[in-house]
Structure formats: structure tokens, C-alpha cells
Point group: C2
Chain length 413, copies 2
């Protein structure tokens, strides 16, 4: 029995309690529960500033990070189960445009604003900071959609489909920027690289989903005939983990694969097991997400280092980046095709605002990259990215849920 | 996204598939599902012998070990939820005797048999090998009881209560043996040590359960008034993890704490949340155990190193140890008070047979302990303990479930 597992048990009881207290506090001030969980995470993760060094272990415990990763995978799988492939394809054109605009606009705007306001920074840094603004962190928006029962609205579907495309585009941006910065001369191969990366990623998604849609019901019928207890959930989770794994192997985020696995599964898959199982897949997944999803958001909050706020430079650059990040994603509203008048394009744009893990991964990469022997990002710029991530992540839940409730009222009228 | 998490996703899909295939194979030959899971684990864990070195990572992945540990904690918590404190106390006297006999008899028998058959081994080795036979690994028996719906029988309760006492006794034996072997002179303090260890362990259990029984319903009523979604499960799991943590802090196995937490919770606790939750606590725990419990048994199987079978010495000593282990625990049947004629004492004795993690922990310790600069256990003796663990663990599910079905028939007549 290693010591770290004992530690994990303590951390889990602490985190589950903090999650509920955070949710409670958020509800008191009429904010979404997920924001309460994020703030609870920020508090726990920064107790070291108040002299409680003990909590530092929470931030860095790899077991907790693993459970948090499982949390976001289960969340996206759940959201995927609520969606279906045809309904997602129906918003495909809008989603594609939203994703493309949502990558290009924040990049250009971020690059331009940093160039104008901080002309003394090197061109590479400007490019890099612009690139950190590209990728949407879909977890936050997915959670808000789910908590409000809005996954199956046109807006919800558009956000989720755009997020999948966005992940592929983010991958391309990351590869291009890293390639340019590490060897600016060899930029002739970049075109080929882009084609390869996108072909791999989209190829996996298309082939995986087609195979899944074609064979999954046969597989489920075969499995149901075995009459082993717990088969529906076990088989579905196997599919989820396998897709998440393959997704990663093809360069995408695991949560994109988990979402795709969920997409394949439809209510009919649960009905195949009707006589043996206690409930439909959604009901079986609920206890898993009740345990794991808050761990993800608490953990995300813990990664926000409030020491970033100790530097005026970090705050100023962070605010500029956040402004570019938000305004850039608002341009996504222009990408929504107005075939359906009921579709609220600002809801979709808001859903694309949060930047999270991917922004932080980028920031970490910027810390490692070296230009002329110097790290590309100095600590203040690294902190500025954290400020931007914090602002875009924290502002989304209240604004998005407010907007969703509004459009619900106007829809029902 | 660390590489190890990608690896974990692959491992999870592999393990869940292997668990179901193992369960299926076991059912074909009319053996309990858990045995199929154990064997699937043994196969996966020993693929390296066939040249598939890749699978070696499964055995040693710390994330997987963490999920396995969570699995046995959730299993014992579930089993605890099915039991209640008064019903467990009702079999207290039998359980105490069963546990005491179940520690002393295998120890003496093991010590004597090793002395007689292998007189060239040192006295310390004999003492140590005897000690490895003491502790029951309750996970296997708990799973068989649960799969057959027998947790609430007198036999089931006696086995579970005895296992709790057994863990305290195992702790004492471990401390005494380690103390004697590392400094044979200072054995005067051992009496005090035993008193302190038992007072701490029993004190925690008694105080924890009394506090839990007294205050938990008040806590649940308060929590229900908050009307936050997922509260019943989150609160219950918090209690489970907190008890498991404290249990470890007081020297006991975490699963004993998880079982105690489950004991405190009764059907009334679920009814408090009746209007808000989708089901009772048992139903909410089911998907969690469906995912995690097989990981535990597969992982347990993986720890069995078949290379142990390559040594004739290991097999011979292992068979002798296994014989002592089984016959010693059969003496437990004598500890069952025959107030209730329906109680089948051989079922109880069989339930105490499996040796698992604790035996392996002991074996690991024996590898580290040094007497006159030499390791206490040579590799063959270490392998012998693994053989003993394997035999006692693998024989229990079929025999116990056969006996339970028999006594069910005689009960219903």
C-alpha cells in the first residue's frame, strides 16, 4: 500500500467536499455550479500562498491528474451519448465555419494587439501568443450545456461539432508554430505537414465513426446474448476508452475520441440490453460523472497559479490577450449559417470562448522553446497566458447559461 | 497530456475486455466470474513469458494500481452498505473467535509443517512463513458473497465481521514478527506494542462507527436540504474515502475503513434523498463497481508471477504452505458458535481461506528483511508464497459458491 494512495484517499474526500461547497456558494450568487467548482479548485490550489504548503501536493499528485483526465473523458462521452451523428452533421457546415473563424480571428487579433501594445516583444513571441488563443477548451461549455439540458439544442450541437473541428485546427496551428519557431528556414515542408496532420486526424474520425455506426449494433446484440452482468456499461466504456486512446494516437485530444464514441451510441444500443440492465446508458454513466467530472474542474482550477497576479506586466498582457481571445471568438457568430432563425449565433460564439488545458499546454511549451538560447516566454508572459485562460474560462459559464436561458424563453414563446 | 495517460486508456479498454472474456470463460465451465477475472489477469500479467514484453507495463503501471485499489475500496464499501451495524454485532462473538482461531491455527500449523518438512531452514524463516498464512484477503470472499446475493446471510456477516477483526490481528502479527526479526533482544516492549496497536485500531473502528451512526442521518438531512444534484452519491463516497483514509492512518487496511463507512449507511439514508435522486445508494454504486471492481481482480491476477512455477522448491514449499493455510483456516469452523443451526460453519471457514495482497506484502517484506546480512527469504521461498497465495485465492470462489448454493438449498427446504 504506497503512501501516495493513502494521500489520494484524503485528497478525494477533500475535493468532493470542496466541489459541493463551491457548487453551493455559486448557486447562492446565482452562478453555474461549474464555476463554483473551478473557484473551489483555485482556492485549494493556492492555499500555499496562505502558508498551507500541504495543499501543494494536490496540484502535483499524478493520481489525481489521472482521475481528472478520466473525468473530462467521461463528460465528453456522456455529451456524445446525448448527441447523434446525423444531428451533428446537420450543423456541420456552420460548425466548420465557426471553428475556422474561431481559430483565425483570435490568432490575427491577438498577434496584432500584442504587436501594437507591446512593440518591444519579438515577432516570434507575438506569433506564439496569438497561437495560444486559438484552441477552445470545450469541457467548460459542454458542462454548462449538460447542466442546463441543452446538449440537444442547435446551439449545443454547433458548439460541440465546432469543438471537434477546432481540436484538429489547434493541432495544425501547434505543429506549424512549433516548426516555424524551431527552424524558420525549413518552412517549405509545412504545407505537407499540414496535409498529413489533418488527413490523419480527420481520417481517424471519419473511419472510426463510420465503422462504429456500421458495426456497433451488431456488436451490442452479440454482447447482449452473452447475458453477463454489467455488459452494457462495460462495453460502452471499452469503446469510449479505446476511441480516446486511438484519438490520441492520431494526434487528437483523447476527449475528442470519447465524444466520437458517444456519438456512435444511440438510445437503441441501450434498448438491446433492456431486459438485463437496470437502466439506459445515460443513467449508468451518471454516477461515474457525478464522481469524476467535479474532479476535473477542481483540478483545472488548481492549475491556475494566483502568483501570476503578482506581476503588473502579466495582468496587463493577460487582459489584452483575453480581450483578443473573446473578441476573436465573437467573430464566430458570423460563421453560423442562418438557415434556422431560432439558432442564436451569440450563444454559439460564447460557447467557443473558454481556453483551458490547451492554452496551458501551449504556455508550457513556450517555456521550453528556446530562441537564440533564451526561453521564448519569460515568466511574466507565461503568467499572462494563465490570466487569459482564467478570464475566458471563468466568464463563460455565467454568460453562456444566461444566454441559453434567454434563448430558451424566446424559443418557447 | 502525459504519455502514461494515453497508455492507461489503452490498458483500460484491454482490461475491461479481458474481464468480460474471463467472466464468460468461467461461466462456460460453471465457475464464478471472479475466478475468470483472476485468470484473465494472470494471462495478461504473464504475456511477457511468451515474448510479449509490452504487457509488462500493465503489471507496473501505478495509475492502474490506483484504480485497482479504488476498486477494492468500492467493493468493500458496497458490501458494507448491504450490511448494518446491529446485524454485524449479532455475529460478533462468532466472528471474534473465527478471526482469532484463523490467525493462530494457520500460523502454528505453517510453522510446524515448515519445521518438519524443511528442517534446514532457519527458525526466523519458519516464523516468517507461518506469519504469511495469517491474514485473510477478504476481497475474494466479499465478491463471491455479493455475486450470489449472500452478504446478508449469517455466514456472509460472520465472514465479513471476522475479516475486520482479522485485519487488526494481522497488523499485530506483522508488527511482532518484524520487531522480533529485526531486533530479537528488544522483545520486552512487544507487549506494550501489541496493546498500543490494537487500541489504536479498535479505537478508530469503535469511535468512527459510533460517531457515524449517531450523526450521519443528521448530516444527510442537512445535505438533502441543499438540493444539489448528485449529493447522495458524493456525500456517501466522501464518507467512504475519508474512512478509508483514516483507517490507513490508524494502521488498518483502507478497505476496512470503507467497509465501516458502508456499515454506517442504511437504507434510510437513501430515503432521505428520495425526492431528488434517481435511485438508492446501492443503485448509484453499481456502475462504479461495474467499472472498478474487475480492475482490482484483474490487477490481482497480474501480480501472480508464473515464473514462480519454474522452481521445484517453490512448488513444493508452496504446496506445503497452502495445505497449512487451508487446514489452518478450516479450524475456524470450530470458532462458530452454534446458536443458530442454520449457520453453516464450513461456509464461514471457506470464506476465510483466501490469502492475497497481505500475503504478497508480507512476501515483499521478507525480501527486504535481512538476517546476518542475508535476505530473509531467498527467491524460491518468495515464489513459494506466491504459489500459496495463488492456490488459496483460486480455490475459494468455486468451493465457496458451491457451499453457499448447497446451504441455500438446505435453508429453503
Amino acid at each position: 500500500m504506497p503512501h501516495s494512495f493513502t494521500q489520494l484517499l484524503f485528497e478525494l474526500s477533500l475535493i468532493l467536499t470542496a466541489a459541493k461547497l463551491g457548487g453551493l456558494a455559486a448557486r447562492k450568487v446565482r452562478l453555474p455550479v461549474v464555476l463554483g467548482e473551478l473557484f473551489a479548485g483555485i482556492v485549494l490550489g493556492n492555499m500555499a500562498l496562505l502558508g498551507f504548503g500541504f495543499f501543494e501536493a494536490l496540484r502535483t499528485d499524478p493520481s489525481l491528474a489521472t482521475l481528472a483526465e478520466l473525468g473530462v473523458i467521461l463528460l465528453m462521452f456522456e455529451v456524445g451519448v446525448e448527441s447523434t451523428v446525423p444531428k451533428l452533421l446537420a450543423v456541420g457546415r456552420s460548425a466548420l465555419m465557426v471553428a475556422i473563424i474561431g481559430v483565425i480571428a483570435p490568432f490575427l487579433l491577438g498577434f496584432a494587439m500584442v504587436r501594437i501594445f507591446f512593440p518591444y516583444l519579438s515577432l516570434w513571441v507575438d506569433v506564439f501568443l496569438g497561437a495560444t488563443l486559438c484552441a477552445t477548451s470545450v469541457g467548460i461549455s459542454a458542462r454548462v450545456l449538460k447542466d442546463l439540458g441543452k446538449v440537444q439544442t442547435q446551439e449545443g450541437r454547433t458548439i460541440l461539432a465546432a469543438a471537434v473541428v477546432d481540436d484538429v485546427l489547434g493541432l495544425i496551428v501547434l505543429a506549424v508554430v512549433a516548426a516555424i519557431i524551431s527552424s524558420p528556414q525549413a518552412s517549405t515542408d509545412i504545407g505537407i505537414k499540414i496535409v498529413v496532420i489533418s488527413a490523419k486526424a480527420f481520417g481517424f474520425l471519419v473511419v472510426g465513426i463510420i465503422l462504429g455506426v456500421t458495426f456497433s449494433k451488431k456488436l451490442y446484440r452479440w454482447a447482449a446474448r452473452l447475458e453477463l452482468s454489467g455488459m452494457l456499461l462495460t462495453l460502452s466504456l471499452t469503446l469510449c476508452f479505446a476511441f480516446a486512446y486511438l484519438s490520441r494516437r492520431f494526434g487528437l485530444a483523447p476527449l475528442v475520441g470519447a465524444f466520437a464514441a458517444g456519438l456512435i451510441l444511440e438510445p437503441e444500443h441501450s434498448l438491446i440490453f433492456k431486459s438485463q440492465e437496470r437502466g439506459r446508458l445515460e443513467h449508468l454513466l451518471l454516477p461515474l460523472s457525478t464522481l469524476f467530472v467535479p474532479i476535473f474542474f477542481l483540478h483545472m482550477g488548481m492549475q491556475v497559479d494566483l502568483r501570476a497576479l503578482f506581476s503588473a506586466m502579466a495582468i496587463v498582457v493577460g487582459l489584452v490577450l483575453a480581450a483578443a481571445a473573446v473578441v476573436g471568438k465573437m467573430a464566430c457568430a458570423g460563421g453560423v449559417f442562418s438557415g434556422n432563425e431560432r439558432l442564436d449565433r451569440w450563444t454559439v460564439a460564447l460557447g467557443m470562448v473558454p481556453r483551458g488545458e490547451v492554452g496551458l499546454i501551449f504556455a508550457g511549451l513556450g517555456n521550453q522553446l528556446r530562441v537564440n538560447g533564451q526561453p521564448l516566454l519569460d515568466p511574466a508572459l507565461y503568467a499572462a497566458i494563465i490570466v487569459m485562460v482564467f478570464i475566458t474560462t471563468a466568464m463563460t459559464p455565467p454568460l453562456l447559461s444566461h444566454r441559453l436561458s434567454r434563448s430558451m424563453i424566446s424559443n418557447s414563446q
